[in-house]
Symmetry: none
DNA sequence: GGGCTGCGTTATCGTTTCGTGACCATATGA
DNA sequence: TCATATGGTCACGAAACGATAACGCAGCCC
């Protein structure tokens, strides 16, 4: 298991690294936001939100946008609730406040790894009926013709295409695309409309009344 | 998104339920360990570890063994680190200590939901006599012919089909479909009527006088 | 600055679905 | 067999739902 530790205080980071390594993790250390974003891929990030060269929250956002399945645990000295909520909303999976015990941190790391690692590695290409989605390049083809989608449209399509034929609930799509169920359904409906228009195939994106939408298979 | 709230203190649970419902979640409440294990399937469990009739930790273990993908957030008054570690190690995905703010709880719920339901679509298939119910696509076939059901009709059918041949009480169905037993019983009867009409098979949905309904098995 | 594009919100409209009350049917039990 | 309670059916108004168009705002690139 590979962990990236992002922490600018070298005394703290040194202590944490030895603790983590003693427990069998491979640990890479980054002291700045830039270093964090440049680090090698890993399974989990321990991210201090107080960084010298940039806000940790931005790092969090960047990391999350890069990979959905990366586990992120925010670590910070500020214990105020507002910070915690912001941290979680930004894409962190968990939040630990200093000072914390190594036992608890370890438990949280394992609880999170249990979730993240088990996930099937994303295949780069999703094919559903007449659509072909390249997750890497974010390119979409319909019946062989390339279609340009905006970010939201693409994310919505992927959210649907991950479970072809299944009814995907509003909440699920909102979580996948906006990371929260809070923002309006209306917005989603509007994007669905433009997605349908761009795909051009009638009945491909079907509505499931009272539930959400479904991508018609074959 | 369906949440099961396991909490024995009724003042606390009432407050939490309204808060959760206000944020758009479907909530079922269980006050005991037994009730928790008997409740309908859900996406996430808020589990008080201090229960009267059995240790919450056991409930946690049982729920986890039943489903790997179920999200479990342990909620408890004991704030000692040892408890937290035990909770997480038992299978909980997250741990919140009372008193907590609703904003933080909500943030943690969303952070966890973002992970849980996404990957393994419950592509479960229920087959009872001439009916085939696909929970993922919410499609229903009767004798091979596709039937279109409304949300309520479908939910009622699933509630019955989960225990084929067994008499399912009014209360159980109302909880499954409306998340409350608060009257509405007449409404259920009406929906049963239209469900029967759509299924078209006589005697498939049987009345159990004074109790509820039963789905006739092959 | 001025156009463009992506995005979120609001307003509006047609449709489906739901819940309710009135009335009918059937079972139950004396 | 009849009275009563329990469940079934019908019909209608209210509410929810979803599609679409239009607007405003922000960021971006000349």
């Amino acid at each position: 298991m590979r962990i990236l530790l992002v922490e600018d205080d070298h005394r703290v980071s040194a202590a944490m690294m030895t603790m983590l390594q003693r427990r069998g993790y491979e640990v890479e250390h980054a002291a700045t936001a830039a270093a964090a974003l440049a680090a090698a891929p890993c399974d989990l990030v321990l991210l201090d939100l107080n960084l010298p060269d940039g806000d940790g929250v931005d790092v969090c956002r960047s990391l999350r946008s890069r990979s959905e399945q990366l586990g992120i645990i925010a670590v910070t000295a500020r214990g105020e609730e507002r910070d915690r909520v912001v941290g979680l909303r930004t894409g962190a999976d968990d939040y630990v406040v200093k000072p914390f015990s190594m036992a608890e941190l370890h438990a949280r790391i394992e609880a999170l790894l249990r979730r993240t690692v088990r996930q099937a590695p994303q295949c780069e290409l999703i094919e559903v009926a007449p659509i072909r989605i390249n997750l890497g390049t974010r390119a979409v083809e319909v019946n062989g013709a390339c279609v340009t989608l905006t970010r939201k449209e693409f994310d919505i399509l992927v959210s649907l295409a991950r479970q072809p034929g299944a009814a995907v609930s509003y909440e699920r799509i909102l979580l996948d695309v906006w990371q929260t169920t809070w923002s309006g359904r209306h917005t989603l409906e509007v994007h669905i409309a433009s997605l349908r228009a761009k795909l051009g195939v009638p009945n491909l994106v079907q509505t499931v009344r009272g539930v959400g939408y479904r991508l018609q298979t074959g």
